[in-house]
């Protein structure tokens, strides 16, 4: 899974990222972003094309974006990406967006775990071809 996350997500510093990579091994590629509004459909599509079975974005809570409207723009882009991958026959759930909660903040590791559980039923992406060759 390719996971893009905003730097405002709780417990998402370099040390937390390394701890998460240590726990998850090769199953997760983590990409910290200056702002979730930076993520464009091309990021998610290229991840699905190159190496990922799923690509998710974690944003800061609504109204808490340092760039004012980065997370709301990320949501619009996510909808666009979902429609693109649906049109080529992939499941909409292969991309997704999680918004951090202001009231009940969860750490990056906890959110990543939840996403992994949610997508576990999807299986390998047909876009990547058979195992061992693209």
């Amino acid at each position: 899974m390719a996971l893009f996350y905003c730097q405002n997500v709780p417990e998402s510093r370099e040390a937390d990222r390394q701890a998460l990579e240590e726990a998850c091994g090769e199953t997760m590629a983590l990409f910290p972003m200056p702002c979730s509004g930076r993520v464009e459909p091309v990021h998610l599509l290229r991840a699905l094309e190159e190496f990922a079975d799923a690509a998710y974005v974690i944003t800061c809570p609504q109204g808490a974006c340092r760039n004012f409207e980065g997370n709301s723009r990320a949501m619009k882009r996510m909808e666009r990406t979902k429609s693109i991958i649906e049109s080529i026959g992939l499941e909409r759930e292969r991309v997704g967006l999680i918004v951090c909660s202001k009231e009940n903040p969860k750490s990056l590791a906890a959110l990543a775990q939840e996403i992994l559980e949610d997508i576990s039923s999807l299986g390998p992406s047909p876009a990547l071809g058979p195992v061992g060759g693209n």
Partner: protein
């Protein structure tokens, strides 16, 4: 006149996209469709050929952006923002700062010195070497045609003991003395860092760099086997036990002993094997190091290597920096009248070219450089290798030739900066720079001398 020592550098491209300081966030929604978009007006044409490296998720617009912010200021609907890249800000630590790492990368690319400091707002002092200001009074009278011009500035230093006096026979002929000296063309010795995704190819690359630079390369005993025998002359093996001396490489001219038990026997054994081999004793930078150095010199050790931790601090007291350690040993030996009987080398936390000159000003003869050699190979000082995680820039896969080229570029840039600093000080020989504190100002000392007599400042006292 001896031939000039010049380090030939050439561009050696990076293998990975570097982490950049900031990223462009360009909202596409809300565009007013201006007839001439600010993106088209970019003087560096950054927006004209955008590309995304999917493995690293790095965009070309970020790498090529020169931070002029014209697009950010010019977009009428404020659709373009710039934000600090959290990955860049998280690099390294308080000593190996992101800016130092990025500067070392740039120097390793081409051997050129990155321009920095324009519009610098301060601070003008800091911990460690940052508390030393070097004298640039001669900068108004530079050598006639630059640092590589007709006036030769020598960076060569001697390793070993210089003779205390000359002895003549009855016919006024000079008798040979037993002092042994080795000359290296610059006061920088390469050293294997304490961590890193290092492979055999990396070690061979570093040895090749030492050979081409004409300096030495310090290797722990367990890594010696990885380096071909023909590099023996350029190796400076470091042994942690007397029994490991069996693995002494052929042709090696200098050996480091890092153990205490059986030290004098080990030195005798090396001298019996080859009297021309120089022996260095490594001492950690801890309490009592100056006394230890003094006793080693008294016992005849001719080279001492003072090792601080990887951030250039004392192992048992992080508040004391390498400069203080060098200074305490240097002054102790000067007081004892034995300073010229020994070569003092220093290592740990040397991260910038200026640290070489400042270490020498504090009293060392030369320095050992470790982590900059790793950063030259695009290391991000993330220390993932220590936890068994994969190296983000696969240092272990880099070829020996590429490794050597990048390290030579870095040392070439540092050599030029040393020449610049020495030229600006009016010093023409690195050996003359040793302990030359008259060519520097120490912030602590100035602060004390200026404000000591003004009494204590009363806290929470507001000026009316």
């Amino acid at each position: 006149m001896p031939s000039k020592y010049v380090i030939h550098t050439e561009t050696v491209l990076r293998r990975f996209q570097p982490l950049i300081q900031s990223g462009i966030i360009a909202w596409e929604e809300g565009c007013l469709k201006c007839p001439v978009c600010v993106k088209k007006k970019c003087v560096y044409s950054v927006y004209d050929h955008r590309g995304l490296n999917a493995r690293q998720m790095v965009e070309s617009i970020d790498n090529e952006c020169m931070n002029c912010l014209r697009c950010v200021q010019g977009c009428p609907n404020e659709l373009i923002h710039k934000s600090i890249n959290p990955e860049f800000a998280a690099m390294g630590d308080e000593h190996w700062t992101p800016n130092i790492i990025a500067s070392l990368w740039a120097q390793s690319d081409s051997g050129k010195i990155p321009v920095s400091g324009a519009g610098y707002p301060g601070p003008f002092s800091g911990p460690g070497f940052d508390a030393i200001w070097t004298d640039m009074s001669e900068i108004v009278r530079p050598t006639r045609d630059g640092i590589h011009g007709r006036e030769y500035i020598s960076t060569a230093v001697d390793l070993g003991r210089t003779p205390a006096h000359l002895v003549f026979d009855a016919e006024s002929g000079l008798l040979e003395d037993d002092s042994l000296l080795m000359n290296i063309p610059l006061p920088i010795i390469l050293k294997v860092p304490a961590f890193g995704a290092i492979s055999e190819k990396t070690l061979v690359g570093w040895a090749e760099a030492a050979k081409r630079l004409g300096t030495l390369f310090t290797v722990p005993e367990d890594m010696l086997k990885a380096i071909p025998a023909d590099y023996g002359r350029w190796l400076f093996p470091s042994f942690s036990t007397a029994s490991a001396l069996e693995g002494l490489p052929d042709g090696c001219r200098m050996v480091e002993l890092a153990f205490e038990d059986g030290l004098s026997e080990a030195i005798k054994r090396i001298k019996d094997f080859d009297p021309s081999i120089l022996v260095s004793k490594k001492i950690p930078m801890v309490e009592g190091m100056a006394d230890r150095a003094e006793s080693l010199v008294a016992s005849g050790v001719s080279i001492i290597h003072l090792e601080a931790d990887f951030q250039g601090r004392r192992h048992d007291d992080p508040g004391t920096f390498l400069k203080d350690g060098i200074r305490s040993i240097h002054l102790k030996l000067v007081d004892a009248g034995t300073r010229d009987n020994v070569t003092l080398l220093a290592s740990g936390g040397i991260s910038m070219a200026e640290h070489v000159a400042k270490s020498i000003i504090c009293g060392s003869d030369g320095v050992l450089v470790d982590f900059p050699m790793l950063i030259a190979l695009e290391c991000r000082m993330c220390r993932r290798c220590e936890k068994g995680l994969s190296c983000p820039v696969d240092i272990q896969d880099a070829s020996a030739e590429w490794t050597a080229g990048r390290v030579i570029n870095l040392v070439g840039a540092w050599h030029n900066q040393l020449l610049e600093v020495m030229g600006a000080m009016g010093i023409r020989d690195a050996r003359r720079l040793r302990g030359e504190v008259g060519r520097a100002m120490f912030f602590d000392q100035l602060d004390r001398e200026t404000f000591e007599n003004m009494g204590a400042v009363v806290e929470e006292c507001e000026l009316e």
